[in-house]
Amino acid sequence: MDLKDIIKPENRVYAKTPVLTENVMHYCPGCSHGTVHKIIAEVIEEMGIQEKTIGISPVGCSVFAYNYVDIDWQQAAHGRAPALATATKRLLPDKYVFTYQGDGDLASIGTAEIMHACNRGENIVVIFINNAIYGMTGGQMAPTTLIGMKTSTSPYGRTEELHGKPLKITELIAQLEGTCYVSRQSVQSAAAARKTKRAIRKAFENSAMSKGTSFVEVVSACNSGWKLSPVKANEWMVENMFPQYPLGDIKDR
């Protein structure tokens, strides 16, 4: 049997979803953004909602999410994505509207917008990438940065005295009655990525049922910002991030 006999469409076990564009991602090798983008694109393809989905991209590394997921996008000012999503969903109620935000965007400058959108129970999906650092601006401290973690604005390590403890924003969000589903996942392994995909799919399905806001945090690696190799970054994340940000569904109603 020749190799050509094997390489046939009917024998294919994996293909890139057409909802991902052909553009080469600008993310660093080892970064979690690419995996989460792929998961979102696959969910959109599997649900057949490419024509009905509008994404809101943040300020941060994933500002360019629109270059990779082939849907209509709005690019928001820093932290304001939930306000854009609110108006978009209310003016186009038959659309699936989601925001994609990092920890600086969602948990620092955009706390008012995310809290109130979730409290109003907007029928939107929020994907929250928590890598405990500002990636795009060069590795500064985030509200979710761990105690002792060194960043360019906490060069001797974050201290509780100076900056307070890491903000568990997802636990806060879960308290709000407008949210129907709040989950924390990760993508450092195939198994973890599959769980994240289930969570994100569920979030989009909730949106169709008008159950309220669905919020999925993905604890992510920023190996460049953390100054670790991709493999070491994932190990460090499992060891240090997961105890502070335990995985699993926090709320499901």
Binding site: W73, Q74, A83, A87, K95
Partner: protein
Amino acid sequence: MKGNEAIAISAIRNGCDGYFGYPITPQSEVMETLMEEKPWETTGMVVLQAESETSSINMLYGGASCGKKVMTSSSSPGLSLMCEGLSYLAGAELPCVVVNVVRGGPGLGTIQPGQGDYFQACKGGGHGDYKMVVLAPSSAQEMYDFVDLGFDLAFKYLNPVMILADGVVGQMMEKVELKPMKSRWSDEYIKSTFKWATTGKTPDRKQNVITSLALDAAVHERLNHKLQLKYKKMQQEDVRFETFMCEDAEHVIVAYGCMARICENTVELARAEGIKLGLLRPITLFPFPTEEINRLVPQLKTMMSVELSAGQMVEDVRLAVNGRVPVNFFGRLGGIVPSPEEVFEAFKKEIK
């Protein structure tokens, strides 16, 4: 009805799709009237009280991205919070109408009327090189009319339009003639007319992306040049103003909003004493009626800008006059509105 109520009623009657706002004196009647009218039950218009002015202006960004007619209203301190969003809306070339019922500043200032936000409205306010069409109503009727005109201009230029009112025009009660109703645009109309809007990517077109970001310097310069051309076009095609007794005038007062109403009486006082005084009322503060001032200057001895500020519009008058005749200024601050007589006294002192 009150000027502020006229804004609300006009929004409903002119096919507005969404109002997003946050309460602040002296314009809270806008959202109160909308909530009382419940337009979502009649025209389907969305009305939402946001958690802040920052959020309301960003809701406009979301709604405008969908090709919808969206608006907000606020007063001075609220507008300061919206400046970030206005810069993004201008950068992303999104249409919307923003009403500022100006009060006295700076800071929390006073809830009394003011015109101290002229610079913020006309010279930018937010970051970067951008402009907005700024309409200055001087009656409740114009509050009503300028919502519709504002949406026309916003969609003509794909740019925010500001209605720069003041506490007097907002609170003043006058007769308002309601024009025939316009219905809201259908989703099909929006999809086929505004091909840039985020209405959902269909297989027959590329994805639509609304953004103000362009990291490549050359691309970003091109984007800026495109914006500047648009602002030039505004100056060529959409200057609006009114003149009162300017034909034979030797002196002209320039005033807008409530001060134009007061200065009309000042002109009458002057004419009764045989002084040839006229009034120029800019209706668009940007684009400014520079050409009309140019046309008037040869017949004039002096000009005077009268404002509820420490002197902001006077700078544009002086730029237009370019030193050819003296340009005087009279202003009151802190929410004090001068009488026609007070303006007349100030005018006489200057021309002595």
